[in-house]
């Protein structure tokens, strides 16, 4: 005897043909809709049918921009970063052309009939080797022996940017970094100020007579340096 259950195919179909067709139609419709929505006939020429209203908050683009502007290819020199320091350039002194001094020079000045006098302010992070190493490096540049600890301790102080700085003055033959031969009869003035996070240097070099004439200008320049507000 055949067991007849509710799952017997023919019977079930007879009972629910309407709902079967509805279900099939719905499901096939979803599938067909999917298929059709993804198909679009692309022809050689097409009409633009879509448009949109641009928001009032949207930035109006530049009209008639050049290709160089559009593709960031302007290659214009960037303006130099603004110096955070303010100072007074002594009379007769001039600012050196940008990049002529090299290194970390925040202020770079020249003086003298042939611009042979040089004075600049530089900054180094941290202790930059310490006071002794820097002063003795300068002394070496002037052809002089290094200072002892006692001599270093006895160096005079000057007020520089509101704090005490060590002042040095040497006479000798100056051989700066990269120079092939030493320039004889030179004088060097210097200020070294050690702050917790950096060390400031002001260094002036030139023929002795010229430097002596400009010692007051050096003090005037050093005392005029301040941070821009």
């Amino acid at each position: 005897m055949t067991k007849v259950t509710g799952r017997e195919p023919g019977r079930n179909v007879q009972q629910s043909r309407g709902s079967v067709l509805t279900g099939m139609g719905m499901s096939m419709g979803i599938s067909a809709g999917l298929l059709l929505s993804s198909c679009e006939r692309l022809t050689e020429s097409m009409e633009i049918k879509e448009s949109r209203v641009i928001s009032e908050h949207a930035i109006m683009p530049k009209a008639e921009a050049t290709s160089a502007e559009r593709f960031f290819d302007t290659q214009q020199a960037q303006p130099p970063a603004e110096n955070p320091l303010a100072w007074i350039t002594p009379e007769g002194w001039t600012e050196a052309p940008a990049g002529s001094g090299g290194g970390m020079r925040l202020i770079d000045l020249r003086f003298g009939p042939n611009q042979e006098g040089e004075c600049y302010l530089s900054i180094m992070p941290g202790q930059a080797g310490g006071l002794a190493a820097n002063v003795n490096r300068w002394r070496t540049q002037m052809g002089l022996p290094p200072y002892s600890e006692a001599e270093l301790a006895a160096l005079p102080k000057k007020t520089f940017v509101g704090r005490d700085a060590t002042f040095v003055a040497f006479d000798g033959d100056f051989k700066g970094v990269g120079a092939e031969a030493a320039a004889t009869g030179f004088r060097m003035l210097g200020l070294v100020q050690e702050a917790p996070e950096f060390t400031l240097f002001v260094k002036l070099t030139g023929p002795k007579d010229l430097v002596v004439k400009n010692e007051a200008a050096f003090d005037q320049f050093a005392s005029s340096i301040s941070l821009k507000r």
Binding site: R7, G23, E44, I48, R52, H57, P61, S67
Partner: protein, 436 residues
């Protein structure tokens, strides 16, 4: 007298639609579909390593047919040392086909064909909720909008841009309309993204004083100055588009295309380059009017405006690692303003849109450093449907299990004798082997 062989009763012909019904409602079809789904998930996951998520999803899940499998890539993804190329031509149904067939199968087998009694109620609910989940996927696929809006502090926006959908927009820049309203004609990406390798198509509109030909679409490219370069590429205004290798993250690709603008009233045609990261649109003067043509991401409208009042960034002490990004915004609807906070894992949900904290940037604007916040925007009508479907599925399965347990416990006498006769057991009759 020889025995007469009895004539067999005539077999009733099964109509075609009944045959189709049995086929589409069958458990076997459901099994085959699920095996294929497992296969394409496996292959798609492997190919994603070298082809990127976007391309893998498009190839395996947003497609009707899969025609090739990058076996070399799959081997490498499984840490098998293989350096060559091995693209195997195949014909596998894609995710869309499989989902459509599974939906048909679930509706016919799991909802219509199944015997409807109190005992099968849980099974029917389970099948119904799975169908609902599939429909949620379809609704999400068709209607979901997803993109991002980047706002500098103080800036207001009521639009967001799609992550993936590309369009060409044409806007008249000069003269500006008297009422100040701006509109753009939009060419959808599907109408020009096939124009690679020398193919071209012309786009026309009666309100435009020119016809626009788009050609040589590049998925990832960079404009280069032609001067000093030896190139066989087309040059427009001294530049050409250099083809770059496609990025795995699709949104990082900088697509581009060449265009040719031909004035309708005669005059010289002008060639230009569209590039998605260009600082300004390609502009063309026709008569007294200047038009800007740009290749950009599709823009969607928000039902409200958003102003970024403040962006706050917290990092772990001593590091640049993000601890918390927060955008303090004002939601503006007409005259109404509401202060809102959007932070990590705490989006703003309103009017069917969800705005998530996505990224930030610090850049210059008007000579001052300004913080910007990028908000990911999602609008999905079926956002919570999968959750409801999962809850319904759980309820259906739990109900069915409890009903089975109750029936089992109520028939202790028959349990010992019928437990080893599955064809006669009452529990076996409640599940339909023909249903998935």
């Amino acid at each position: 007298m020889p025995a007469v062989k009895p004539t067999p009763p005539p077999r009733s012909a099964v109509p075609l639609h009944v045959k189709l019904y049995h086929f589409f409602a069958s458990f076997g079809l459901a099994t085959v579909v699920l095996v294929f789904l497992l296969l394409i998930t496996f292959l798609g996951t492997l190919e994603q390593v070298e082809h990127g998520l976007y391309d893998s999803v498009r190839k395996y899940f947003d497609s009707f047919v899969i025609t090739s499998v990058d076996l070399a890539c799959c081997l490498r993804a499984m840490h098998v040392h293989y350096q060559g190329n091995w693209n195997l031509p195949v014909l596998i149904p894609g995710g869309m086909t499989l989902m459509a067939v599974l939906t048909v199968n679930m509706v016919l087998g799991g909802l219509i064909r199944i015997r409807k009694t109190g005992r099968t109620f849980g099974v029917i609910v389970t099948h119904g909720s799975i169908v609902f989940m599939l429909v949620a996927g379809l609704v999400s696929f068709v209607f979901k909008k997803e993109g991002a809006v980047r706002l500098a502090e103080g800036q207001v926006a009521d639009e967001f841009q799609s992550f993936h959908d590309v369009v060409i927009e044409i806007e008249r820049l000069e003269p500006v309309s008297k009422d100040g309203k701006r509109t753009a004609m939009v060419i959808p990406g599907r109408q020009f993204q096939d124009l690679t390798g020398g193919k071209a198509r012309t786009f026309v509109n009666k309100d435009l004083p020119f016809d626009l030909m788009v050609m040589n679409y590049e998925v990832n490219s960079a404009p280069k100055k032609a001067a000093g370069s030896s190139t066989s590429r087309e040059v427009a205004d001294g530049y050409f588009l250099q083809t770059l290798k496609e990025e795995l993250e699709q949104e990082r690709n900088a697509d581009g295309a060449y265009v040719k603008v031909t004035p309708k009233k005669g005059g010289e045609a002008v060639k230009g380059i569209l590039w998605r990261f260009a600082a300004a649109p390609f502009s063309v003067k026709v008569g007294d009017e200047v038009y800007g043509i740009s290749l950009t991401r599709k823009t969607y409208k928000l039902p409200f405006s958003v102003r970024l009042d403040d962006f706050q960034r917290e990092v772990h002490p001593g590091t640049e690692r993000a601890r918390k990004f927060t955008s303090v915004i004002t939601k503006i609807t007409g005259e109404n303003e509401e202060k809102k906070i959007i932070t990590m894992n705490e989006p703003l949900r309103d009017e069917g849109f969800a705005l998530f904290q996505s990224a930030f940037d610090v850049g210059e604007r008007g000579g001052a450093m300004v913080e910007s916040s990028t908000l990911q925007v999602v609008n999905n009508p079926s956002d919570h449907w999968p959750l409801y479907a999962m809850l319904a599925t759980m309820a259906g399965m739990l109900g069915h299990m409890i009903a089975q347990l109750v029936r089992f416990l109520r028939k202790p006498a028959s349990r010992s004798t019928k437990a080893f006769q599955p064809e006669a057991s009452s529990s076996a009759s409640t599940t339909n082997p023909a249903t998935p």
